[in-house]
Subunit: 226 residues, 2 copies
Amino acid sequence: MGENIGAAARAMMNFGLSDLRIVAPRDGWPNAKAHEMAARADTIIENATIFSTLPEALYDCHYALSTSARTRTQPLSYLTPRQAAMEALAHPGRTAFVFGQENNGLSNEDLAYCHAIITIPAAPINTSLNLAQCVNIVAYEWYNTQLTAPTLPPDVHEHATIGEAEALVSRLETLLATRDYFTQSHKPVQQQMLRRLIVENAFSSKDIKALHGIVKALASAERKSS
Amino acid sequence: MGENIGAAARAMMNFGLSDLRIVAPRDGWPNAKAHEMAARADTIIENATIFSTLPEALYDCHYALSTSARTRTQPLSYLTPRQAAMEALAHPGRTAFVFGQENNGLSNEDLAYCHAIITIPAAPINTSLNLAQCVNIVAYEWYNTQLTAPTLPPDVHEHATIGEAEALVSRLETLLATRDYFTQSHKPVQQQMLRRLIVENAFSSKDIKALHGIVKALASAERKSS
C-alpha cells in the first residue's frame, strides 16, 4: 500500500535513514499515495529503488534483519528491536532492515536471505503491527542506539555481500541440480538449507572466492589417472 | 484528525493500553475515519471518553507526561520515552500520557498540568513525528518497560489526583482574583506558576485537604481581637 510506504519513509527520515528499497510494489511505482503520505520525506520516496526480488534488493548488503509476525519456525536468532539495532551497529558493512507485506510477512524463501528475525514485543491481545509502526520502532531504536554506539574498527575481513553469497548459492544450485541432488518433494527445503549455509555464515569475500574454487574443482571431471 | 486517532488506538492496543481520552476533537465525535483506521482496536475507539478541556480529562490521574515538539522553554524535566516509561511505572496511581495537536503541540497552559515532557530523540533533519508515531513509540517503551518492572509497594501516601490539585488551584485563583493578586499583563504567567506549584508537587490527598484549610483560614476575615 502506498500509504504504508509513505509513512515508512517518514519514519525513516525522522530517524536518520534514507536508503529505501522496494521489492515488487503491489500497486506499481511511482505511487501518488506514497508521495502524499511521506510529507517532508518525499525525497526518500523519489530516491527509492525498485527491485523485483528480495535477493536483488540485498545484493550489496552484508547483513539483513527481518521483522516477521510468523510463529517461530525458522532456525534463526530472534532479536528485540533494541538488540537488532545493536547487532546492526556491531556488524561491519551495510545492514538491511527487511519488512514484509502487512498480512503475510515474509515467505520462508525470503527469510533464507536474512540473518536474524526482529520480533517486536506486543500485547498478546493484538500482536499485529502495521508496516509503518514496525519501521517506526525499528528506526527509532536504531537511531537511539547509534547515538551512543562506539565506533567500529575497520572491517579487516571484508565481509562478503549478500549478492556475493547468493552468486555462490546459485552456482551450487545449478551444479547440484544436474547431479540429481534435489529430490522433487524436498527441493524448496533443500534450497533454503543451502542458502542458509552460505548466506548466514559470515564468510569474507575471500572465503567466497575460495569456496567457488572448491566447488569448481569438485564439479569438474575426475582426473583420468585416478 | 480521525485517522491519527484511529492509528493511535491501534498502537495502544498493540502495547496493552486501553483508556483513550480525547480532548475537543477537531472533527467532532464519533468519527468514522477513526473507526476505520483503528481496525481491530475499534473497541478502544468505542470506549473512548471525550472531554472539553485537558484538566477535565486528567481529573482522576496522578501523574501526567506530555510529548511536545516545542523548544525547551518550560521549567519541567525532559525525559526520553524510555525514561518516561520508567517514571510512569515508578509513580503510584494513574499516569496519563498526553499528546498534543500535530502542528502546535500543547499550549503552555496545558503543559502546566503535566509533570514532565517526553522528547523523542530524532534526526535533526526532521524532528517532527506525527501523532500516531509518538503514541506508537511511547506505548512500545511503556509495554517493554513494564514487562520487566518490579512491582511497586502500595501507595501509602495516597497521592492526590490532578483533579484534586486543580480544585485547590481554582479556589486559589478565585480568592486571589478578588484580592488583586493578578496583574493584567502577567495573569497567564501567574496562573501557570500557581498551577505548577500545586500540580507538580506530589501532594497527597491529605496534603491538599490541609492546604484547603490553610487557604480558607488565610482568606477569612481577621479576628476582631487582633
